[in-house]
């Protein structure tokens, strides 16, 4: 029955709570002016708003580093833990709380160096979390040391004559990890690309791994300069099963291709070419059917108290004499 006892289908059915961007905004972000992290924060807050996620159901998890300050700037639950360890924490949070939405902010040092062991296994667990690798090619918080993704020859405080070794390619690595199910790459300076890709990542059930090429104006501003000034250096990957940009935005990318994200072989070829000319942006790989660890970690959650005590008695009886 509607208003005044009339039958109608035009009455508004407003949700009990409506969330605006402000509901996701924590303390004032204290990154350097021009830092790429601001754009990522905004994109995530917009996704939360557009998806109308309850702030109390969101947990932002991070390690240590500039980008790992991320949880402090979200007005949600957050876990700003240890250097290199956000992934085990995120998996633990998710293990018995399938209702929570877990966003992980990690950096190139955090994920690809000190936490690399966890990275391999978190990808294999494929729990339903969204992982954002803020890759600025440098250690920022500790002030300009070489990171595993620093380009060869980049001058840092630890390698003043230039980094000795070629950089680790995170896309290539992650596509080699067993059971990887979602791999994407974006740049921080294109809000529409960032938003659409992260949103696709959010909607994927499994561990969505998004590498974000992120500018650090303080220490590695030069590394992405050419990409920023020459859109032709980027290769936009679009597909109906991956990510699609508004044609008006897509037009900004002179190089664009249709890439089927279910094609692992093609994804690996694209990842291999990263850094050698065209830098791919968009969804490289997506497999919605990969095994998710959540299906195992959630087992037995519905068990009631009486049932539990009965089961405990049975277990104790196995040791009875």
């Amino acid at each position: 029955m509607g208003m005044f006892g009339t039958e109608n289908d035009w009455e508004l059915d407003p949700p009990p709570r409506y969330f605006s961007l402000e509901d996701y905004e924590g303390g004032a972000a204290r990154w350097c002016p021009g830092c790429g992290d601001f754009g990522v924060l905004t994109a995530v807050q917009r996704i939360c708003r557009d998806e109308q996620l309850e702030p109390e159901q969101i947990v932002a998890v991070s390690g240590i580093g500039c980008s790992s300050r991320f949880p402090h700037y979200m007005d949600t639950y957050g876990f700003h833990g240890l250097h290199g360890r956000p992934l085990p924490v995120a998996c633990g949070i998710k293990s018995r709380r399938p209702d929570l939405k877990v966003w992980v902010a990690t950096g190139d040092g955090d994920c690809c160096s000190i936490g690399a062991g966890h990275w391999i296994h978190a990808i294999r667990y494929n729990m339903d979390i969204t992982v954002m690798l803020f890759d600025n090619n440098v250690y920022g918080l500790t002030k300009n040391q070489t990171s595993p993704t620093s380009p060869q020859g980049m001058k840092t405080n630890t390698h003043p004559r230039g980094a000795w070794l070629p950089p680790l390619n995170p896309l290539r690595a992650v596509l080699g990890f067993t059971n990887c199910s979602f791999v994407a790459q974006v740049v921080d300076w294109n809000p529409a690309l960032l938003y659409e890709t992260l949103r696709a990542a959010y909607h994927h059930r499994g561990t969505s791994f998004v590498r974000i090429l992120q500018r650090c104006p303080a220490f590695s501003g030069q590394v992405f300069e050419h990409l920023q000034h020459d859109p032709a250096s980027l290769l936009l990957l679009q597909h109906e099963d991956g990510m699609q940009l508004d044609p008006k935005v897509a037009k900004l990318f002179p190089n664009s291709t249709t890439h089927d994200p279910s094609d692992m072989k093609a994804a690996r070829e694209i990842a291999d070419s990263d850094g050698e000319g065209k830098v791919p942006v968009g969804v490289l790989y997506r497999d919605p059917n990969s095994a998710v660890y959540d299906d195992f970690t959630n087992l037995g959650m519905e068990m009631g108290l009486d049932e539990k005590i009965k089961a405990l008695d049975t277990e104790l009886d196995r040791f009875a004499i």
């Binding site: 949600t76 108290l305 089961a311």
Partner: protein, 642 residues
């Protein structure tokens, strides 16, 4: 100690010698099933009403060379008319499948003159002249050592029944022991049925044949026949080792998540959880490493499911940083450390109590945490339940220390009856009062309630950085001081709620022995013997080491001398006695700090559990030394206040 023997004519047709207690060992190369037979025999003893303690003899390698000293594998079973709380002293009866493994046990001081050894003589006729000579030399040596060797053609007998007697002889031994000690052979058969429950009926029948053969063989060919008067127990009992007790305690505490990484001797906790945990609605996560294990556990805790991680020394070292985070960010956690010998990889399969300081102080910065130590297998069960509640109430990590001795010792204990209040309540998802901050510290106790994700209005960012009561990062002097103070106060608050420990023996006297952890059984037993011999000695055993149970100083002051006895290193060489630079045991140092009383320490790090005989010897020597220096009471060292 020699068994208390007397002739008895009751029971079986042939006269049996009554013994109050026996210590037997089955020693073999690994893979010969000695442990299986021993566990089954232990269960038979327990079911017959005896007190039992079994402990496995485990070589460090999975497949050590056969017929070697280092390869000694097997089991010790101590059983008797009374409750048995430890492995005891030297063995009374040993069954060995070859002579060389016995040297591994001789090295461990497991035998005494008079120990009876039943040895398979097949090596006497071995193809290799070298082996034949080794065997014969050993027999001569054993005789010189005073062992009573009886050759027993075990494999030859088994070969009459099975193709590969090497694999069947353990059940033959089970039958043999059952007859020697006048137990019911049906009980032994029942154990075999249980052991091989997943095998075919044919396999079970073959093992029953072997048991019967062993039983009959002993009846017809062996002069040994004992009888152990049995206790009358009315309460229901369960038989388990300390790691099984931990696993069941975890389940009964309502802890839903255990994350761990395989490490000896903690690993078997995960074996017991592997199947059973799912059946009670729990999750065992085998993490990619020790760090991930505690990180996963803390994630689960943060989301409202107080979790547990189980490890041993090297794993504790790796978990240190996360443990500091749990203290700093006030996250409940139950961390169980099944101690082994250290430092570094140390003695992976052997016992030590060397992780006391690492558990209390291993975390950089001031990181107060609750540390408890289980003294018995039964306590392994109940302590987990207590630990979860303490972790949640005091909002921080609780460490439980056990060790390899408790982990592998098997004993009948009163059957716990799971109760509703043991089990963690469901997650609270009600709205959080927005006027209450994320760390709304009680000024008296430092305790604060904890918001759980899902609670609207409770949103906060947990951080390992210094923070204010409302969880904001703060580097200012006052905030840091305040946070430290609040975290520290929690320990004081807990200490105030603890009862002073009970003194075992007279409340005052000459010597007070202080211990913690798995040494309780050996110390208590030795104490009983020492007091019977007229020594003025009492003992104290702590369950809480951080915060320490209250009133210890007052207890110490009632004794002339205080001595810690334990399995952790301290300088014992004669030159150290009066050396101001002497390094005392960690426990003694801790007690001195707590009480400002002089505390001496005796310890040994042989990788072996303490035996009552060793403890008694320590007590006797302590009195000899004290009395040679002067009359008791003259050196009131216990009351010295520095």
């Amino acid at each position: 100690m020699k068994p208390d023997t007397q002739s008895s004519s009751t029971g079986a047709s042939s006269a049996r010698t009554e013994v109050r207690e026996q210590i037997i060992e089955i020693v073999s190369d690994s893979g010969e099933g000695a442990q299986k037979a021993g566990q089954a025999f232990g269960a038979v003893c327990a079911k017959s009403g005896c007190g039992v303690w079994t402990v496995e003899i485990i070589p460090a390698e999975i497949k050590p060379p056969s017929r070697s000293r280092a390869g000694a594998s097997g089991i010790r079973i101590r059983f008797g008319s009374d409750t048995v709380t430890n492995m005891g002293d030297e063995a009374d009866l040993v069954i060995a499948f070859n002579e060389q493994v016995l040297y591994g046990r001789i090295d461990a001081d497991a035998f005494r003159p008079g120990t009876r050894i039943l040895l398979d003589p097949k090596w006497r006729t071995d193809d290799s002249p070298k082996i034949r000579k080794m065997y014969e030399d050993a027999l001569v040596d054993f005789e010189q050592r005073g062992f009573v060797v009886q050759e027993l053609a075990i494999e030859e007998e088994c070969a009459k029944l099975v193709k590969n007697p090497r694999l069947g002889k353990n059940m033959f031994i089970l039958g043999l022991l059952t007859q020697v000690y006048g137990m019911d052979v049906e009980l032994a058969m029942g154990e075999a049925s249980f052991l091989f429950r997943r095998k075919s009926d044919e396999v079970i029948a073959r093992n029953h044949d072997l048991i019967r053969a062993g039983f009959n063989f002993a009846k017809e060919n062996m002069p040994l026949a004992y009888e152990v008067p049995q206790r009358q127990t009315t309460e229901s009992q369960v038989v388990m080792n300390g790691n099984q007790a931990l696993a069941l305690g975890i389940m009964a505490s309502g802890i839903e998540v255990v994350a761990m990484y395989p490490i000896t001797p903690a690993t078997s906790v995960s074996h017991h959880l592997g199947g059973a945990y799912t059946r009670v609605g729990g999750l065992l996560h085998q993490a990619e490493d020790e760090i991930a294990a505690i990180g996963f556990a803390l994630g689960a805790t943060y989301a409202g499911k107080t979790a547990c991680t189980v490890t041993s020394g090297p794993g504790l070292a790796l978990k240190t940083e996360f443990l500091g985070l749990a203290v700093m960010a006030e996250l409940p956690l139950v961390l169980i450390n099944v101690q082994r010998g250290g430092p570094s990889t140390g003695l992976p399969t052997k016992v030590e109590q060397g992780d006391l300081f690492a558990s209390l102080y291993g975390t950089p910065g001031d990181a107060p945490k609750i540390v408890m130590a289980a003294a018995t297998i039964e306590e392994c069960f109940h302590m987990v339940i207590t630990a979860r509640k303490l972790a949640e109430t005091f909002r921080g990590p609780v460490l439980i220390l056990t060790d390899a001795n408790l982990a592998t010792g098997v004993q009948p204990i009163p059957r716990p009856h799971p109760r509703e209040e043991w089990i963690a309540p469901p997650i609270d998802s009600s709205p959080w009062d927005p006027n209450v901050s994320a760390y709304d510290w009680d000024e008296e106790t430092g305790i604060s309630p904890r918001p759980i994700p899902g609670q609207p209005g409770g949103e906060y960012v947990l951080t390992g950085l210094a923070h204010t009561g409302d969880a904001h990062v703060a580097y200012d002097p006052d905030s840091n001081e305040k946070g430290m103070e609040m975290r520290s106060k929690k320990l004081r608050a807990l200490q105030k709620s603890l009862r002073p420990p009970k003194v075992n023996g007279d409340p005052s006297g000459e010597l007070l022995i202080v211990g913690w952890g798995s040494t309780l059984g050996a110390i208590d037993e030795a104490l009983g013997r020492a007091r019977a011999e007229g020594y003025s000695v009492s003992s104290l055993h702590l369950r809480f080491v951080s915060p320490m149970e209250p009133g210890i100083k007052e207890i110490f002051e009632r004794f002339d001398r205080v001595l810690t006895i334990g399995i952790q290193y301290s300088d014992q060489d004669p030159a150290s006695t009066d050396d101001p630079a002497r390094r005392r045991s960690q426990f003694a140092a801790l007690l001195r700090d707590e009480t400002l009383c002089d505390v001496d320490s005796w310890s040994q790090v042989h990788g072996q559990p303490l035996s009552p005989g060793i403890v008694l010897d320590v007590i006797q020597k302590n009195f000899e030394r004290a009395h040679s220096k002067g009359e008791p009471g003259e050196e009131k060292t216990g009351a010295t206040i520095s």
